[in-house]
Symmetry: C2
Subunit: 336 residues, 2 copies
């Protein structure tokens, strides 16, 4: 298997990895998100993950943002890529329940509401505009932006948004057993609300059914003037679909083969329908000798905190697949 | 009078104007700060000023951050320089009472307490560390950083910090009649607390007597790798003095001649004692034909939101003094 499905034709003098953090209250619905030890603790995962990526350890709380089965958070992959490349990540707070422990470019949004019961992101338009401001600023800071996210429960909002935009999508999950039925039930209710609202405006759809990461990431992508890679699976695909619906060219995506190969989802097909391109990285976790990482290969976690894009970025910067895999293994052995 | 007292020997490919916002509860003590229509409203001035600099108008509230006498906020100068140069400012939230309306790089600090009655900045060390992180990030974004601030009431905390560090300083004020007696009374009480604490550590002094802007700005200055100008009067001088006390070279300052010529303060002498260099800009407000701007010449406002440094930056970028003055006049006529 090649390390990269296809090498993006990108060179960069000054690449930047930026990670949009957000919450949706959907992650507290039992069974929706595996990104945390309990449903309530999933709300803290962006905070813990950003601390891990920034500092290499988690000092602020006594537990780790791993899955209930002990699979290491994908943030540990992103962390090891930042160490390997010497890049400094930028965190963007789109709307968190808890105040983060690392500096963030803050959009002053709120956590997303449960879209079954009310508007998910009442200020989607404001967040999009602030994302546009951020995109203009980041254009001055870099010539390549690898834009990832951390939103526990966000594959469910991604499913709602993709379907509301007319795609017959199925989405990935951080669980081995994708809780398809539960997600579909949520989605049916949300699509009912979208239908009742009678709108096809993409920012209205985000207001009704999305999460705060989406308008922020879409706004950034709208104004960023350098090369852009959306680092993530179905959640970033939803952002690409929103951009398409806004009349813009959907940016390319970078994610792991674990997202591509998820047979319960429809990632490659929906990428094609959106008219985007996706690059897939295969970090060979099956053969590294780490039980937790090997679980990625049976479909657990798969992606998050821009992990796939971070590996692609390291590759673009000239690091060999072996260096990349070794950096991840060394860090995860230490951390988890 | 020359436009610049001396031209800094600086060329920059990619300059950045960053503005640290913060509050100290001292600004709500009647008579301390003129940066707002009422003592309570001074807390909102960083929010209103940042909105003005970013967007060119204030839509979020129905009043303007001008002085009670109608003197236009110095943020209007900074705004017109951003328009003239085409630069995008970055706001850094060090600790505000009210959530800002523009995206900020947020250090997740709190508003500074009244240092007469308790620790002013309990987390000064944490804010310094986050400032260091921000400085490293900004080093990747720019090769010249013009770092200003907006902290109503901050000349009083600056006075406390400069005195606690051993300087026989007197500080400027946004009032024509500098409320020296009131400031000195506050300062006497605060210095008593510092003496009781028996510390000479500069970050401890900030904890006891400073405001949240100071450790953040000092942290940024500690790690920023490009050229740096501290844009401001006595408040930035306090930051330079903290850096000196931390064993670092105090960065150069850029401010207006109105700060230099304030006979109730001791700016040039204290700059010399700190071992820094200051560049002074004379925008010739006396002769522009705007009553509010002319009040700067009789000693009102004088400086704020990095206004002096913004004019120096425009000059460094090749704009002529007449272009700079005209841009300010045109904007202020429209705005106030």
């Amino acid at each position: 298997m090649p390390f990269l499905s296809e090498s993006p034709d990108i060179t960069a003098e000054n690449p930047l990895m930026a990670l949009v953090l957000g919450n949706t209250m959907l992650s507290t619905v039992p069974g929706i998100s595996g990104a945390g030890q309990t449903p309530e603790k999933t709300l803290l995962t962006p905070n813990l993950d950003s601390e891990l990526v920034m500092t290499g350890s988690i000092a602020s709380m006594s537990f780790k943002p791993n899955t209930p089965t002990g699979c290491p958070t994908p943030a540990s992959i992103t962390r090891s890529m930042m160490q390997l490349t010497g890049l400094l990540p930028l965190f963007i707070n789109a709307g968190l329940r808890h105040q983060p422990g690392v500096p963030c470019l803050d959009m002053y949004g709120s956590p997303g509401g449960d879209p079954r019961f009310g508007d998910a992101v009442p200020d989607a338009c404001g967040l999009f505009r602030r994302g546009e401001m951020a995109g203009r600023f980041l254009s001055r800071c870099s010539d390549l932006l690898v834009l990832g996210e951390c939103v526990p429960g966000g594959t469910t909002t991604a499913l709602c948004v993709l379907k509301a935009l007319g795609y017959d999508a199925r989405v990935s999950s951080s669980y081995v057993e994708n809780p398809v039925t539960l997600k579909d039930e949520v989605c049916r209710e949300v699509l009912g609300r979208v239908r009742n609202a009678g709108t096809s405006d993409p920012l209205e759809i985000l207001r009704l059914a999305g999460d705060p990461m989406m308008p922020v990431a879409a706004g950034i992508a709208s104004t960023y003037s350098g090369r852009l890679l959306l680092a993530g699976g179905t959640q970033m695909l939803a952002v690409a679909a929103v951009l398409k619906a806004l009349g813009r060219n959907p940016p390319p995506l970078a994610t792991t083969v674990y997202v591509r190969d998820d047979s319960s989802a429809s990632f490659p097909r929906t990428v094609e329908e959106v008219g985007a391109v996706a690059y897939y990285v295969d970090p060979n976790f099956a053969n590294l000798g780490h039980v937790g990482l090997a679980r990625y290969c049976i479909g657990e976690v798969k992606e998050g905190m821009g992990a796939g894009g971070a590996m692609v970025l390291a590759s673009l910067m000239g690091f060999a697949p072996e260096e990349i895999s070794k950096a991840i293994f060394d860090f995860v052995r230490e951390y988890s």
